[in-house]
């Protein structure tokens, strides 16, 4: 079991590093492409990055808060 957990945390670590590299690359790449903005801020480099990150954090926080009330044991309905 210990080995599995170790392998698992190694996998997450490697994935995180991979994602971080891609993240940096995607933001750097954003400075070299031509932007056509509709609303101003959406045309700035790195907008997709921080906007996506904040959106996901917000969704997760809302989900966790709602989960306090809405999450119930599986036998709740019992049918």
């Amino acid at each position: 079991m210990k080995d599995k957990e170790l392998a698992q945390s190694n996998m997450i670590k490697r994935l995180m590093w991979g994602l971080l590299v891609l993240a940096v690359l995607s933001v750097v790449a954003d400075f070299f492409v031509y932007h056509k903005s509709h609303f101003g801020i959406d045309g700035t480099p790195g907008f997709g990055a921080w906007y996506a990150f904040l959106s996901c954090v917000l969704f997760a926080v809302i989900a966790v808060l709602l989960g306090i009330i809405l999450k119930q044991p599986e036998t709740y309905y019992d049918d």
Partner: protein
């Protein structure tokens, strides 16, 4: 004009034939009839028309344009891929129902009038209920709830159609959003929205679909919600309320999918979220938005079927569908893992996949209409989609903690179906012009610009970072999440129980009162007429003689006075 045989009817008849086939002939039928239907639709001439007289009306069972052909094509494609995936499904009855269901959906898209639309709509409702029912004993209650909601939707739709026809005298399926919004149009809209999975009655979808069998949900995911989207496009484009309902569905689906522990319930919430994109775009109503709806419905049906096929394969091989019981399957199920990832990338609109060329049309349409808030919300939702299905679904099923399960990839027919759908996702992503050529309006959208590729890649990558950073908080828990169906499953059920108690008590009181009364009467009768009763007692001779004498004397007196 040319009279043609309706392709949908063909699939319905094939479905009715299916229960009589076994073994190889059944397998051949499962592939042949959807393929034939697909070919019929593909070669359907533009002026194909089939009309039938009915009462004083002329029903149009077959009327073709770009929009109906596009939806019918993807429905038939779905029936074919589903049939191929389900070759090992032992329950022929489920597949028969699924074919009737698919045929009903195709017939809805070709219906030129409200009456035939309603007939095929209800055929779909019945057939899809049977598909849910085939999920086994645990699906029975959910199937009944599903049927109840859909028959309610049918009643609303029928009432709306009847009102609309009596007001206009016209049965043609035309745009209704340009005139005055009458009560019957609201009813019609409500009936359509129930099938689209819109609030407040959206919980029927995650309640029932995941209870279907490992093949059943693949069929269920495609037809009901998308026919509703199709009819909404025809009847209510540009209706503002759809914009808000759609946005609500988008976020509701995301939040519930993040909370979900069952992989198929997660995918069910994801259907609502993705259909929300489409409903929102119908609300925008511009040509570009409607093109986006059509393209996204086409792409969505394929990648959602792909995701559900990978989930179905996991259930078929392991019998499990909860994240808490799965994990680490990538080692032994590489093909399924690969296909699930392609599906996940497609729904996340990653470059080179179908979602990238379809979903983004909707966001672009919102930007072109200067709907700033809508655009920001849709892009946030795109990031959320990457989060809950782009990462959460494949991660918890195929990676994460090894659950110790070592199932191999599913039988070859299931693998081929998945690979077929995965290739379709990528081909659409690589060559969007073929899809764009089939859209209802001409389109000048170029998905592959540098900024757009980088933007979508950023959404995916940073959603992934957020997911792994917050893994502890959004991790899997052995729970269910209460949804609106709580109202009728818990409160409503409690009311029914209370009402039942009330009825039982009242009835008991009535019965007790009645039987008490009867007993009193009987006791009285017994008292007078029983063995010792006054009236039944044997009388002595002297008493008899006395009374006889008394009566005779009385008679004599009366006679004397009258005389």
């Amino acid at each position: 004009m040319m009279t043609s045989f309706p392709p949908g009817l063909m699939l319905i008849l094939a479905g009715l034939l299916l229960p009589f086939l076994h073994g190889t002939s059944r397998s051949i039928a499962l592939l042949f009839f959807p393929a034939l239907t697909l070919a019929l639709i593909w070669f359907l001439p533009d002026d194909a028309l089939l009309q039938l007289p009915f009462l004083q009306y002329e029903l149009t069972l077959l009327q073709v344009d770009n929009l109906s052909r596009l939806f019918a094509l993807v429905f038939a494609l779905m029936a074919l891929a589903g049939g191929a995936f389900a070759l090992k499904q032992k329950n022929t009855f489920e597949l028969a129902a699924a074919f009737v269901y698919a045929g009903g959906a195709i017939s809805v898209t070709f219906s030129g009038d409200l009456i035939s639309l309603f007939i095929f709509w209800e055929i779909m409702a019945i057939a899809s209920t049977l598909v849910v029912l085939c999920g086994g004993p645990s699906a029975h209650n959910a199937a009944l709830r599903y049927a109840a909601i859909h028959f309610l939707g049918g009643v609303l739709l029928m009432a709306g159609i009847a009102g609309e026809i009596s007001a206009s005298g016209n049965i043609a399926l035309t745009q209704l959003s340009n005139g005055e919004f009458t009560f019957s149009r609201y009813l019609l809209l409500a009936g359509l929205l129930i099938n689209a999975g819109a609030p407040p009655l959206s919980a029927w979808l995650p309640d029932s679909y995941p209870k279907a069998s490992w093949t059943g949900m693949i069929f269920l995911s495609a037809f009901t919600t998308k026919t509703a989207v199709y009819v909404l496009m025809r009847t209510f484009p540009g209706t503002e309320i759809l914009l808000y309902l759609g946005l609500f569905m988008v976020f509701y689906g995301i939040i519930y999918a993040i909370l979900e522990n069952d992989m198929r319930r997660l995918l069910a919430y994801s259907i609502i979220s993705q259909v929300g994109f489409m409903v929102c775009a119908v609300g925008i109503g511009s040509d570009k938005a409607l093109n986006g709806v059509a393209a996204h419905a086409f792409a969505h049906i394929i990648y959602k079927a792909l995701l559900l096929m990978s989930a179905g394969s996991v259930i078929y091989m392991t019998g499990k569908s909860k994240f808490t019981e799965l994990g680490g399957l990538f080692r032994s199920m590489p093909v399924t893992t690969f296909c699930a990832i392609v599906g996940a990338l497609s729904i996340a609109a990653f470059p080179l996949t179908s979602g990238f060329v379809s979903k983004t049309i909707i966001a672009k349409a919102a930007a072109d209409e200067h709907l700033m808030l809508v655009w920001f919300m849709l892009e946030a939702a795109s990031a959320g989609t990457c989060f809950y299905v782009g990462f959460k679904f494949p991660w918890f099923v195929f990676f994460h903690k090894d659950a110790g399960l070592r199932p191999v990839d599913p039988p070859i027919n299931m693998q081929i179906s998945m690979i077929f759908m995965a290739v379709a996702c990528i081909l659409i992503g690589l060559f969007p012009s073929a899809l764009y050529a089939m859209l209802p309006f001409s389109i000048d959208y170029v998905p592959y610009t540098g900024a757009h590729i980088v933007f979508q890649a950023q959404l995916m990558i940073f959603a992934g970072l957020a997911f792994f950073l917050m893994l502890v908080w959004v991790g899997k828990t052995n729970t269910i999440t209460l949804d609106f169906d709580w109202v009728y499953r818990k409160i409503g059920f409690q009311w029914v129980l209370n009402f039942n108690d009330f009825l039982t008590v009242t009835w008991r009181q009535i019965v007790a009162g009645f039987s008490g009364g009867v007993q009193k009467v009987v006791a009285k009768i017994y008292r007078y007429s029983g063995p010792d009763g006054l009236l039944a007692r044997p009388w002595e001779t002297g008493v008899m003689a006395f009374w006889t004498t008394f009566l005779l004397a009385a008679y004599l007196l009366i006679y004397y006075y009258i005389k």
